[in-house]
Amino acid sequence: MSLNAIEARGLVKYFDDFCAVDGIDLTVPKGSIFGILGPNGAGKTTMLRMLLGIIDPDEGTRKLLGSERPLSVARQVGYLPEERGLYQSMKAYDAIAFMGALRGLPLKTGRIQGRQLLEENGLGAAADKEVRMLSKGMAQTVQLLGTIVHDPKLIVLDEPFSGLDALNQGKLEKLIRKQAEQGVTVIFSTHVIAHAERLCEEIAIIAGGKVPFHGKVSTARDRLRPQVRLETRNNEGPWRAALPADCEREGSFWHFTLPETGVEPLLKALIDGEAGIESLSIERPGLHDAFVAIAGEAAAKEMTSNGDMPQREAA
């Protein structure tokens, strides 16, 4: 019995002459919340589609819940595609039931559970409304509920936060955590780093169809040394020898990477050298910094900051 919900080796996908996915390896442990980060066009959706069996890879192998034929375990999987879609003439509860029925849930049970889920998520009044009468956010929630109505073991969400307002993004984060608490594996792609940073234990960074990083969020962060932000009264003095050669000055502030010797020798050298310390902060790098370092500045620029780019943590 594999401990991984997803195992992919050397996945390759070409569209005509364009290589969308170039030899990706991916392992997603069971019961984890796993984020796939990458700018638009990095190959996230193509990779997810291959993992789910919607399209076949040109090369490589994939196992979904232990099966090499993803559709054979479709009943245990829930999928929310990036391009949202529902039958417009269906009632909300029926749309949820239909999505459950596609994955083996009896229609009658699906209808009961559909109403229940809508009620639990504050959409009880919309249960009998046709999808075309719902707002975009409501329709998106209906589709998300359709993704989980059959109690899947693995939930795959492609850009689940896009198009949602801050309130609904919060609700979705809560729902993802709740599913994970119940032992469900949740894998989602996003181009907003903040969501991954808040939710995920593990991530994969995709850029240009490759995976330059795959592992724990903390490991990604640890790839970078902490940054020091120092403010001094004195501009010159023997204390300057304690600063690394590539430090940057911005008015009375100095920015530099914390030397490998640690903070104590640095502080001693600054005090002994009469720097006149006004303030000193050591900032642990965030996932965004790790992403920039791993995927490159260009890829990072393509990522939507969405106004909620994670700030460096003060030490």
């Binding site: 390759v12 070409y14 569209f15 005509d16 002459d17 364009f18 290589c19 969308a20 066009g41 190959g43 959706t45 193509t46 589609r49 789910l52 069996g53 919607i54 399209i55 076949d56 040109d58 090369e59 559709l71 479709a74 999987v77 999928y79 595609p81 391009e83 949202r84 879609g85 529902l86 039958y87 417009q88 003439s89 269906m90 239909f98 999505m99 029925a101 596609l102 994955r103 083996g104 229609l107 589709q143 359709g146």
Partner: protein
Amino acid sequence: MKELFRSSFVIARRDFAAIIFSKAFFFFLLGPLFPLAIGLGAGSLGEQMARDIDQPNIAVLLASDEAIALMAANERLSAQIGAGRLPTFTVIDQQGDSAAQVASLLGSDGKKSSDTKYIAVLSGSFGKPVLTGAAQDVMRWQGEIGLLISTAQTAVDSAPVQVQTQIIADSEGAKEKSQLLTAQAGQVVLFLLTMLLAGMVLSNLVEEKTNKIIEILAAAVPIDAIFLGKLFAMLGMAFIGIAVWITVGAAAIELFGPGLPSLPVPEIGWPLFLVLAFLYFAMAYLLLGSLFLGIGAMATTVREVQTLSMPVTMAQLLVFGLAAYAVTKLGEPIELFTAFFPFSSPFAMLARAAQMDNIWQHLLALGWQIMWAFIIVRISAGIFKRNVMKSGGQKRGFFKRMFSRPAKVG
């Protein structure tokens, strides 16, 4: 296989309910009323015109005793051979110059009058009758009028000779000829229904593609199941439509037209013929429908589907034309080809049911057709999955999507 049919059923149930409970379905049911109303209108107009043309009025300008005898003969002969086969006669009083009166009655004297409604005038006498009129009218009626005068000259009480009749069940020649009529009628009905209903599946995947639902379906069930589900939903809708039309048609015939001519009994017998007609309709629908669904699935917009509908209809006509041509050539290579060629096979086999009494060939044919329907669905689903269900590729035209092969790693 079980999962394939379960998934197909889920798709079919959704589609079927969506179609049946839509307002548009009511108009779909009313659909055949329009050509029927046009047909009835045109038919009654044509009948009226035919009556006007075939039963022209001929003026009788004879001595009164001869005119009376002619009218009596007309009555007797009409009773014997049928009233519609003789012209209508109007007796006119002779006045003065006969030639001038004939010209006046035909309007050939240049004067327009209300009397100029006759196509010809019979004047002179029984001994020397003269029929005046346009060449085609005179030639058309000259024989009948000669027969009438002969009848008028014979004794009034002489009854027509009674011909003894001997009726046999059917002559072999007449039977074959009449069963050909049943075969052709069966093919026409099958073609009309297939053309009306199978073409509708062309646009069947457009909703899923425009609503972006296709990815949800494709992630949950095999593409083959989506195709099969859609086909079966439309087939179910077609059966409901046909059942309603047959019921309404039967009621209408019962009420208004019990005297309608009936078709000759097919060689295989009516009950089995009707069962086979039902099965062959389902097969023709599944075969053409799966092909059209596959072609339509390549289209990304409603406009592309509309553009495709014309060549698709032409292709259907071609298949029907082939089957209709071969129906008179039972057992010949061309007829065997139409029976084997999957798309024309249901038409050819229905014609065979009207003309041959072998059952086994229908079992074989139905198996053959089911096999091809599945092959076409699989191929269509494969092409769809390969060429449509891929993201990030270049946007390409319909034909490239249809025939392209995915690029491989070099």
